[in-house]
Amino acid sequence: MFEMLLIEGLAIGACYGLFGVAVAIIYKTSDVVNFAQGEMGMLATFVAYHIMTAYGWPFYLAFPATLLFAILLGMAIEICFLRPAKEPTVLGLLILTLGAEMLLMGLAGWKWGAEQKDFPFLLSVHKNVEIFPGFALNEWTIGVFVLTAVVMVLLFLFFRYSKLGIAMRATQQNENAAKIMGIKVERVFSITWGMSSLIGALAAMFFAARSVLDPNFMMEPFMRAFAAAVLGGLTSIPGVVIGGLILGITENFFGYAWPEWKPIVAFVVIILIITVRPSGLFAKHYVKKV
C-alpha cells in the first residue's frame, strides 16, 4: 500500500512538475506568470482529440501534429498579444495572459461544448506492465516518469550547450546587454513561448488521459503546477520538478488519510513553506536592491 501511494504520488507529482516547468520557462525569461498556460495545453489536447476522432488520424500522426500546433499556438500568443504591448508592466502582462486564458477557454467551449469527453491516449492508467517480477506499474505512470526524465535531460543539455539556450539565459539575466551582444531578444521570447507551450501540451495530454476532457479540465492542474513551481522556486527548473514531486506525494498521502481534505492540503503546506522561505525551496533568495 505504502509503495503504491508513493509511486502514484510521484507520478502525479512528476506531471505537475512537468507542467510547472512550462510555467517556469516563461517566468524565467520574461518575469511573467503565464495564466493562459493551462488553457494553451487544454486547447492543444482538444486539437489532438479532434484530429483523432473527427479525422480519424492514428495516434502516431496526431501526437506530433498536436505538438507542432502547440508550438505555433505559443508563438502566436506571444507575437499577437504580448509583443504589441508598449512598455508593459508586469501586472499588464499578467492581465494579458488572463485575457488570453478567457479567450482560449471561450474558443474551446464554442467549438467543442462543455460536456466531458474521454481522451483516447496511447498509455492507459488501467493497463499494468510488469517491469520485473512481482512489481507492476501502469503504462501511464511509466510514461510520465520517462517523459519527465527525457524532458529534464534535454532541457539541461539545451540550456547548457546550445546557442539558443545560452541566448535565452543571457536574455533572462539582462535584456539590454543581450541586445547589445546581438541577440534578437524578441525572437528569443517567441521561441520561449513555443517551447513552454510544447511542454505544457505534453503534460496536458497526460492529465487528460487520467481525468476527462472539457474546457475547464486544466484549471485545477494548472493551479497545482503553479503551486509546485512556486514551492520549488520559479527560477530553478530542477527545483520546480522536485516541488512537483513533493506536492504529489503530500497530496496522495494526505488524500489517503483524510480524503475529504485532499484538494486543499497541498495549498496549506505550500503557504506554510513559502512563508518561511519566500522564494521557494531551491531558488536563491533575491534581495531587492535600491
Binding site: 517566468y27 506568470v33 498579444f81 504589441p84 504591448a85 508598449k86 508593459p88 508592466t89 508586469v90 501586472l91 499588464g92 502582462l93 492581465i95 494579458l96 488572463l98 485575457g99 488570453a100 486564458e101 478567457m102 479567450l103 482560449l104 477557454m105 471561450g106 474558443l107 474551446a108 467551449g109 464554442w110 467549438k111 467543442w112 461544448g113 462543455a114 474546457p215 484549471m219 493551479m223 503553479f226 503551486a227 512556486v230 520559479l234 475529504e260 481534505w261 484538494p263 486543499i264 495549498f267 496549506v268 505550500i270 503557504i271 513559502i274 512563508t275 519566500p278 522564494s279 521557494g280 531587492k288 535600491v290
Partner: protein, 279 residues
Amino acid sequence: MGAYGTSLIMMHLHFPFPVAIILAALIAALLGFVIGLPALRLEGPYLAIATLGFGLTIMHVIGRWEIFGGRMGITAPPLDLGIPGSAWSLVLKGDVQIYYLILVIAVLLVIGARNLMKTRVGRAFMSIRDDDIAAEVMGVNLTIFKTMSFAVSAFYAGIAGGLYGFVVSFFDPFSFNLILSILFLVMVVVGGLGSVLGAIMGAVLITYLQYDLLKNVENLPYLGGLLVAVSKQWFTVIGLANFSGIALGLIMIAIVIFEPLGMFGIWIRIKKYWKTWPF
C-alpha cells in the same frame, strides 16, 4: 465570507441587517489581516499563489462545514432593515428596493474610499505601491500599512459579498470562485487601475456586457446572425454561450495593448484636451 457572515448572523443570532453586515465585514477584515501576514514576506507570483491557496482553502472549509450549509449552499433570509419580528420591521422586497439600498451603501463606501486615499493612510498605501523600499526609508511602517490594506480591502469585499448574497438570494461556496475574481480584475483593468472612479466605470460596463448584452448573443442586431452562421459553419451553436468569455478576453488584451490606464485614462485625456482646447 461577507455573504455567509451576514446571512448567518441574521438567521442564527437574529441581529438586524445593518449590524449583521458590519459584523460580517469586520470578520472578513480580520481574515484579510490574517492573509496579509504572509504577504509581508512574499511578492509577485509567490503572493499570488498564497492568496489563491487561501481562497481555495476557505471555499473548501465552508463547503465542509455543517453550519454553512455545506456544498448545498444556503438561502439568504429576507432583507429586513429594521429589527425583525418587531414593529420596526421593514422588509425590502424585489430587485428595485434592494437596488436603492445597495446604491446608498455603494455611494457611502466610494466616498469613504476616496477620502481614505487622501489621508495619511492613503498616501502611505500609494507610496508602498510605487516603491516599498523608498516608502520604508521615508518612515512608512510597512508591516502596519501592508496588512491594513489587506484588511480594508477585505472589509469592502465583505460588505459587497453581504449585499450580493441578498441579490442572488441563494448561494453556495462555489458561487464565489476564481472566475468571479478574474471578472472583478477585468472590471478594474477596464476602468483603470488604481482609481476608484475607474473601478466603478469598469464594473458598470462589464456587468452590462456580461449579464445583458452577451447573454443572448444570437439576438444582437447584425452581429448575432453572423455569429450563428459562423457557429454553424465551424463551431457549435450550443457553445455560442461561451462567446462572452471570448469577448471579455479580447477586451482585456486590447486594454493592456492600447490603453493601459483603461477608461480612466481616456477620461483624463479628454479632460486635458478640453482644458487646453485651442492648443
